[in-house]
Subunit: 340 residues, 4 copies
């Protein structure tokens, strides 16, 4: 195992700042060496809070710095291609928050550069693969005790989306993309067609935005995946999967875990049993993020690579692009991947 | 309230015999007056077991008998039309097991005869509407506390189908039909299109039979209903619904109800927690059948009618006919109901 | 099977009126023939509502009436002895709400009269034995698959007790008595000592009333039963049991059964999952009461007897008397039953 | 924050080796500097596996070493006093696995030495306080939304105890001790008396060993705590708590968390729903141990102290000593703590 891995974090918005704190306080074998953000003041404030961290205004300067062994990209997707190519050019391992890039052509360019370099360097931030419940489900499916998996039913709800610029396509690209990756990973096969339906929207959706959405994936084996994505559910962050096999089924993400309470009714009537729903993905997947980053650091120190690859990033982008096309017609759209 | 209702049961196969026992032992205000079945021996055995029951070989004789106030039809669907018309002709209330009839034209003839008679007489045996959990869910939806209902996710699994004559269409006609009725009833609106997908089948299915199936209903309001029907699930009888509204969701049918146990591992390792799954619909819906028949008897004695109507029987037949058509193409098929 | 059983109900308070409605509308093979209550107006109103029911001011007149085949006693415990002896004297089967009588001496006199009459006539109204969950638990324990039962943990909570005359002893006599019967029935053995502890009371208890209480039963075999009884829990009616055996455990009464919902937070934060708690025993045990009375009617018509006996009524009275004694000292008190 | 904390681990049996791996691979800000164990070969093997770790045969040499900033004691309880006094003498922070020491007199000597040194140095390894579910429960109780806590019901089951030298007292000293600490911590007050009952033992217990046991704690405020401890439950590792307050209750540790499956019956009947039970404390509390050690390392680097103190270690020893006395009589024994 190599010495402490010196990590540079690019982009210190909500997600990047989270990762910076994580690297500084909860990850073994790593140190936070540098942060970069066009908003230099924000980067400098974070560096001062955490101590002993170099600040760069230009992400490419961070990538070029001598004291950075690996890069965590939490910048906007639109600038990922340039930053990924720089990391690959320097031979630096990189953990890239999704999306890999914004379209399939640019994702293929990243894959090509990585191949040309002769060794895999990119891990895409589909953190669910590191969540203990997802990992447990994957182990159950791979054990074969449920026979072949025939169906997945995936549910993905967010509390609300206050962003006035929100559009229907963003549900596919930013939320459904996680279901795309999970379906491919859990079933170990590609999606061959996608159909996205927009039911009558909730009154909490912005005008013109289709929310919730129902998506159907056809997998290469013939397995079918149903998905509900609902970003103004008003209930909280709920992520569930049911896998149905030939000899049984398995469910994760039921909100019944954790503390369970009974409570009294303020009006003196009978009370209720139950518990709270997680407010957002950072609470629900906090442990998954910790495990993801620890696994990335451990792999970097061993000179290895783990987790979702640049191909996984590319494939999810292609599926979501087809999904956005289906959203307008409601009909199934074929997914065309280049030969892998 | 009129005196004890004298009921005749037509058809004493599994379901009819169950109803005969129910009327004889568990229903207030009714007596089992007569049974009819072309298999006279079977009918006679049952009559002898229960005592004081007249036996008819010809169901139409039972319908014409003086000592029968109301008829429960548990005969095969193919003979329902004739028997229903006979009951309506005599002005007898009738509880008819599903399907009302085998096609939409015959169902419309029943509706027409009932209308011509001037008063509603037919209750169709969609017993789930009387199940306490379904009734509770319906009350939650109708209360408005979840806002409008936007989505239903329905699951319907049977343990196994040993019948060698079983065909894919029978999943739609005999199993999915319950989901059709529940969707219409829970949402209070008609289905406007249905799409049925056949994923790669379980190895437990007969050759050529598509099992499981996934069906999508589009409702008149724009609500969407996803359905899984799986008749060789090998796990048991599982019927669940999740309703998703603008301000919350509601689930019934989770198998976690009832006795919950921990058990030891015969091999000395750690054990498991959990409980049994119901083997079949007669166990799961025993109470629903009791409540359905009691409600029917009570309504008959008051000269009233409750529960699913002949229109509900007709509509479910039309939807399932469209579903069987969709099963071959995988594409959505519009549902055309005559003006109600 | 004899013809319809004509039942007289003695006492038409909350419980008696419930039973009268049950006999009139939900029980097969029985009719409500007569009601008796010192409050004649209340009895007459009920008789008029239900129709065709004779009214008696004096319960002993009802017991003596020609048109009564069996008696359901829902009068106060203090008058049970006289009424039970009258029923036994006439050879009438009787379903007697608990307590059998108010003390052990009078209970023994009832047992003695019943024995002198040569056939068992009394069923005591411990309705939980007919609850499907309790019956299922009993079947699991009796199956032997959990080995010997070593421990029971029983929980019994009521929403609130508004009665200003309420005293600590009433928790033992009226609430804990159900746990006494369940422990004896589930384990199939007698209680040999009882210890009742009064923790610091809830602020919702009346001054001087010990609520909640914790009771420990030692069974003849050495099994131990812990009990929580809490009559001002403010959460609703919660009745649970966990049985712990040598090879597993079993739990009933978890409030997680039935409809399960997620709901939004009125303040816009993350919501909650859960469901309602039953308000009172009439809701929780409605089905148990139906099944209890149906089983009683069926047994009467067959000339048989089922369910808890007068001995069970006597034994529970003796245990609760010892429990009330323990309540003042906190020490274990031996239970002395006469030879059975 | 100081630089990386160099930790020495004393005792490399099951628990110590776990901690050594944890410090080497999962804890930020710490390094494993040294291990000590009288079984030098075992210590040397572990050091070689982890790399860069000094080996000491004598734990006191490790405590005296220049390159050790803090000590984690996972040695047998009988040698804790000497090792703790050595750490305190050198001013080293120490995380001491329970028990603090074997009796109250030696625990008081440790407390005295720590006080004489002028700053707190000892954290006792009651890891449950760091478990997310326990921490959540503690937060609910401290929030006051359930009013005062009146009762705790604690359950603690182990799969089996194969040790032929096992005796009844060890259930109190090694298992119940966790319930003692949790009751004191959750309720924020001392235990004033303890009563331990030994029901008829499971047939899986060694001859003469009382298993399961039921213990009752009376708290200073009058709150009551019931405990089941069962070390040959055959079901697995089950740790649950229910807290009952004036306005609600809260439960943690229900085995229903995590993946939930349905499975088929090998004999072709209906299957079951449920999930696995954890095999042992290392699985159930793995995350608690990680969080405990991370919190200890963080506190050491800040020059602070967190978690259970030497007083908590002393108090739990005194309560368990009283509990072992009660085990022989079944009567309540008062707990006498010196003035704190």
């Amino acid at each position: 195992m190599s010495p402490t891995l010196r990590v540079g974090v690019v982009g210190v918005g909500l997600m990047g700042a989270d990762h910076a704190h994580r690297l500084a306080a909860r990850i073994a074998g790593a140190s936070l060496a540098a942060v970069a953000d066009p908003d230099v003041e924000r980067a400098a404030d974070l560096a001062e809070e955490l101590g002993g961290v170099t600040v760069h205004a230009d992400p490419l300067d961070l990538v070029a710095a001598d004291d950075v062994d690996a890069v965590l990209l939490a910048s906007p997707g639109a600038v990922h291609e340039e930053q990924l190519l720089a990391c690959i050019g320097r031979g630096l391992p990189v953990l890239c928050e999704k999306p890999l890039t914004m379209d399939s052509a640019s994702s293929l360019r990243v894959i090509e550069a990585e191949r040309a370099g002769g060794r895999p360097l990119v891990q895409v931030g589909f953190m669910r693969r590191f969540d203990p419940e997802y990992a447990h489900l994957k182990a159950v499916l791979d054990s074969g005790r449920m026979g072949r998996t025939l169906l997945l039913h995936q549910t993905h709800r967010n509390l609300s989306v206050p962003n006035p610029a929100f559009r229907s396509e963003m549900i596919v690209r930013d939320s459904l993309v996680h279901e795309v990756d999970c379906a491919r990973w859990l079933l170990g096969e590609e999606i061959v067609s996608i159909q996205v339906l927009g039911p009558r929207p909730t009154r909490h959706a912005l005008a013109g935005v289709l929310d919730p959405q129902v998506a159907i994936f056809q997998m290469a084996s013939g397995a079918v995946v149903t998905n509900e994505v609902f970003v103004n559910s008003r209930t909280g962050y709920e992520v569930r999967v049911e896998a149905v096999g030939e000899d049984g089924s398995a469910v994760i993400g039921r909100p019944s875990s954790g503390v369970y309470t009974t409570s009294s009714d303020p009006d003196g009537g009978a009370g209720a049993w139950g518990g709270p729903i997680d407010p957002d993905y950072r609470v629900r997947f906090e442990r998954a993020y910790d495990l993801e980053v620890q696994a990335w650091v451990d792999a970097c120190r061993r000179g290895e690579r783990v987790g979702p690859t640049s191909w996984d990033g590319y494939a999810s982008t292609v599926v979501c692009t087809a999904g956005m096309e289906s959203l307008t017609s409601g009909r199934a759209v074929d997914v065309d991947l280049v030969a892998g």
